[in-house]
Symmetry: D2
Subunit: 445 residues, 4 copies
């Protein structure tokens, strides 16, 4: 059964991600919470808060005891949280009541659940970082390879002036450089243990509580925060935002792939187009479409995580539950987006002939600005502008190439103008090649 | 594995709904699409568009052939849609190539997928309608039973003037009466077959296409729309909105249960409070919190469905995919909310003593308006208002009950005033009992 | 000063709407609330609840007294609501203390504010309905005029098979037919007076309260609800949803105009393209872009209105305030979208030559399905499908037109096939012309 | 006229912020864009790209020429962007055609608009940073002052165990420490000049373009980015997210103020409560409610800015326009929230008696955990837990204080237990005082 594509065996290879989804399985969640219990006991043993024997037995059991999430279902539904159902099951599974009594000593459910989440968010961030590395490497290679390949820039859905394909690739990659930094920073903000006890005061733990926290954090590869974060969920919201922004940047990549791959544009193919038996000429932009859909989904989900910041008192069950509904699927959304983007970035197939053809189809119009600058070498700029404008009107009215219209109108005045240069897109790509190579260098740094 | 609580065996009894979730399983989706193929073939046989034998065999196979969604995964990932993977599997599963060739004749993937969705949305709406009926019946009983039970109304988190518990219940129920109408209407708008072919023109089907559509619709218990809805997704957005609005109204119910069940208020219990072994006095409002969380999640998801209306040309893979990510989980969200609300509505346990006590704790202040009206029988209203204001100040300064302060200040002037009446909350509930009983009558109509 | 484009003198003609924006000016809000006070007094006079003289004076003053919103600013900021600042100002402005004392008798701030809102939402809905009428009339004319004009349908950003421009227009218009019905229904749900008093019980008004409500509703052209709606905000959420859905459908219209107007597609112009002096060939799709932006903005705002349903107790200042932040700008968003859509719908300028050219540029590929159906008249369908598939491969490999490739491959077998018909898009538009004319008829009904 | 509270003279002191709103007035926007033009000309003069005289005249005019935004309205509506309307007006206003011709040389509209935005976002961030400083200073003082003041912690709307008011204050302040860092970082990411020309290549500017960019950036106090950001809007989305997260944390502050200020809780007052003449006992939590409403509004707006990242090609008018609709009002939303939060933080008035009273009203139940730990000094923990559980049941059944029930049940066994200590909340606040003082120290660092 699968309400969402993230868990559907049929559709998950399209919209989910097996690696990151696995982090959010019941089994992984249970294991992560048991790791918290194990690390807690070990640390409490080290400071003499609980008996050494229990402190040795609990971490071992936390790795070994197998607990079936579905067996906890009724208790979870009653408590509204998994931990109160998990702890007794874990204690029972240990088969050592004398040690089991020391499980979860002084902690609260939210400590276990949030630390368990943190462990998995940290791993999720690492997976995403690695995938961003792959995407960036592929884009760097492509940006360099096509740094000088002229193509039409389009602004507001209209062909504007020339750029290069490499510069376009750089425009996709530059936000991903920042996304990587942003994600790493946001991951630090959530890679925290939670250990604050029933009301955020650690009262039940007495002396040594903060030392326990430090030892636990070290054991789990997390940080011990200066202050409890039971109700300070801004770090989660920042993490969610970083994922949504990453997805947004990949959505722009997808959007461009769709636009450049349209039948009438045909300048770029990437990935494996979904075919159609009835329409053999079609190559549906499956991957790019998925990027767009995931980006929009991510934005909504990150809004929910943001909203969960607004909580009441020392613990708010409603706000907390909202995180469970939204944050895990947001992680998988981002992972799926990175997976698709990696495949697309590694398979960019520009069509230089179509790029050239689309530029030529403007009848020289896209070079109007260049022509104006060329003219303004020999006449005041306002005059040059007026002449080009008039020539454009001529060209449109008479179906001429702009160059012909300009030559007709300008006549002998313009002997010195290098029309070949003015109308050659490759000579009017400005800093596009520089930007392409700069991005490549930055991505490789 | 379960990325969302909707599919997690561990947590689904808290946040998901087995009955509606089952409608969105891979198996249910596949069966619904095959029912489309069966109904299509049957209708095409009836108008002579395909051979009678195929027209008889295909519907039978559509009910019988078992297809494993996970076996389609790779093909679904390649095509970006399930249908192109499903059709060959179905044809193969029929074991009758001569009939199989007529499967899906003239239809397009979106026809099968959207009709399959419509079948399930219709059933979802029926489930929700039935549950709303249950909730409303319980609220009607409670509203009537407690129509006259006085309690403090709170405005802007402050005790205001008296109302009755029945009127509060009516305020929860009234939006659900409208939600039921809204949902039924929205369900009509999506209970449509889709049959428009590759480009929305049914060209491949030739003559008789619209007759086929009408026959199919009848067979499937759906409506044949006047015009294709491949890109006209407003009906889905309206349906999503109806679900989100329903969840919002249930969220308000949950919010109030939380507020009235706070330790310091203690006027109302409902459902089974989640206990805590370390804190035996606690009765956590699990169900009400879930209602709040689901309401906020629903709002975000309905936004995504709205956004999917913005699609390009005759089919937009990105917008369509966004629906798959959001709409099924929205349906389950609404179902889970109705399930919890039903249990809560059936178990409302007001505490009249606490209600009375909370009113008394205001020291008569909450009756200030009533006192002012009582006074204004014997003096101009502005004077009455001023006197009450002064008495309130006295009461606050001297720690008096407002009645005592008023008597001290007003003295002999006010002999005729019936202070017992003025300060009796039960005599100042206005139309609250009327509203409670009116709601009950409307809910039962 | 103008934080939003809705109020910016510089940009409001692009993104705002003067007519609907005027409904939400401070002056209009104040007047609407005073109309509530006037109608209340008149009705209370009619049932003998307040003196006749006051009942006559207050409505007159409500129309005449001028109150400057900015003079209320400090008091509004203190109270968090405008009404407590407005009532004293109105009373003072009346210059008749004996009547003024009866202003707002038994009502609460939310009654005045919500009724004032309802008056304006009703007018907003009427403006939108009229504009939808204009848009639909223009689209109906265009759909009929171009019912048979062949153009390529595009699915998933790829040219698919033929349709007609009229059918595309019908796809834009059909959701607007439903939007109009939806809006009218939603408007009924908010065109309500609010009269429930401090705590929703009308206690202060005593006997006759409901009669007052009925009279007031009649006076104001609104409906008196069966039950108070202080906290039942589902009607507002439905109204907001109807606006957002309307904007979404107009967003799809805008999206298509942008896509069809791209330089490389060039099949459709509409409105006045924003030019560029440096790039004279450009015709920026200003109006269509605005439609898209407004649609996305509307979706977010409607989410906020939905969320405001989740309120606590008998009045929740936070939830209510959220409505003020979002709902008025949503109304103006919808109005601006309708304004732009009307101008665009009235100026659709298709380019039949480009439409034909784009179809021809597929080298017959877009007719592959038609060719397959033509072939299947003389051979089993699977064979026909295989032959077309092979011919497509030939065509792509050898740069042939599909027709030539098919003739080469099929040879003498296919003498009977009418290739001219098979490859003529105009003969393969299926029901597109029917849909176009059907929409036109429905829009005119 | 004012569609939103941000621009309404009547309500802006409640929901807007004059200082930050002023940054987004038409006048401020125009001036900021002219500053771009001035800095561009100055830099171009410095590298010899335009005549020195023009390079001197243009910056001067950029500071002096007054342009009325409303006079540009028609041209802005036609172009869809303000700059093409502004440049001619500026040129005309210069009254020096020979210099005016060099205005905007080689730049594009988006360069001017985005740089103009960056200038104002940077100032907005500075305002917010200063206000955060004020809020944090007030919270630090309060946290220290009340570090040891015992109060009940509430989890899931139920009184849990003791904490201190100082710790609660620390929980409000800790996220603001992070918000300040986050905001500063996000501000760096948007404090960028934009200078990329028509298609993002700076082609029209020729050699020296990047030197111009560096000089301009220095002049304007902004950074010159490595790569153009015409379509790389992740920085804006991060900035928007930082604002929304800040608002979310302030929303939690507001939520808690509302909850703690409820009539039945009464532990905390802050700000000036909005009074009610009819209900003199009420002190409406105006400021806290506004914080909540602004937080929810901010979340939706930041979603829109996120979504605007998804843009097509080298410039996407629709996505860009969406930013104008959402980002400025988000800035003002955050500023208004900070303004209210500052006033509230500076006026926190806890009521220690009510705090004590609410704890006592639990009849010792909130100390059950402490009692259990006290007991477990003298018996195995499971036994202690069982005994406390039984005593709680006794207490509830017989209306006893938990201490009495325990003494009755435990009898002579428990001579050594220090019941006074066990049931004294002040001795069970754990690390709460430490956290309070730690926060204060961090806030002052």
């Amino acid at each position: 059964m699968a309400v969402t594509p993230f868990d559907s065996p049929m559709i998950r290879d399209l919209l989910s991600d097996r690696e990151v989804a696995a982090l959010f399985s019941d089994g992984a969640e249970i294991r992560a919470m048991l790791l918290f219990e194990g690390a807690l006991a070990k640390a409490q043993g080290a400071v003499g808060m609980i008996p050494q024997t229990a402190a040795a037995a609990i971490p071992r059991a936390a790795r070994d005891v197998a607990i079936d999430g579905s067996a906890l279902a009724a208790a979870v539904a009653a408590a509204g949280v998994a931990v109160p159902a998990l702890i007794p099951a874990f204690r029972a599974g240990m088969n050592a009541p004398e040690h089991a009594a020391w499980v979860h000593w002084g902690a609260t459910s939210q400590d276990a659940a949030d630390t368990g989440l943190a462990l998995r968010l940290k791993r999720c961030a690492a997976v995403l970082d690695a995938r961003l590395g792959v995407i960036l490497a592929a884009l760097a290679d492509a940006a360099e390879a096509h740094a000088d390949l002229p193509m039409a820039a389009r602004t507001r859905a209209q062909i504007a002036t020339p750029t290069t394909f490499g510069a376009r690739i750089a425009s996709w990659g530059a936000p991903l450089l920042r996304a990587r930094v942003r994600l790493a920073r946001a991951a630090q903000g959530v890679a925290l243990i939670s250990l604050a006890g029933a009301s955020g005061t650690l009262d039940a733990m007495g002396e040594g509580a903060e030392e326990v926290a430090c030892l636990m954090a070290e054991e789990l590869g997390l940080t011990a925060p200066d202050l409890p974060w039971h109700t300070g969920r801004d770090g989660l919201a920042e993490f969610a935002g970083a994922l949504a922004i990453l997805c947004g940047s990949l959505g722009k990549f997808g959007q461009d792939l769709i636009l450049l791959g349209q039948s009438e544009v045909g300048e770029l193919a990437a990935g494996e187009g979904g075919g159609s038996s009835a329409m053999p000429h079609k190559s549906n932009p499956v991957g790019p479409e998925v990027l767009l859909a995931l980006a929009r989904h991510a934005s909504r989900l990150s809004g929910a995580v943001q909203e969960a910041m607004i909580c009441g008192h020392e613990r708010d069950g409603a706000a907390w539950t909202l995180e469970w509904l939204s944050l895990p699927q947001l992680c998988v959304t981002a992972a799926a987006a990175c997976r698709h983007a990696g495949a697309l970035a590694a398979s960019l197939r520009p069509d230089p002939a179509r790029m050239r053809g689309n530029m030529e189809a403007t009848g020289g119009m896209m070079m109007a600005e260049a022509a104006m600058f060329a003219l303004s070498a020999g006449m005041p700029r306002p005059e040059a502008q007026a002449m080009v404008k008039a020539a454009c009107a001529d060209a449109l009215a008479q179906g001429l190439h702009l160059r012909a219209a300009l030559e007709a109108r300008a006549g002998a005045d313009l002997k010195g103008v290098d029309w070949d240069a003015a109308f050659d897109p490759a000579r009017h790509t400005g800093l596009a090649p520089v930007f392409a190579r700069r991005f490549a260098a930055m991505a490789r740094a």
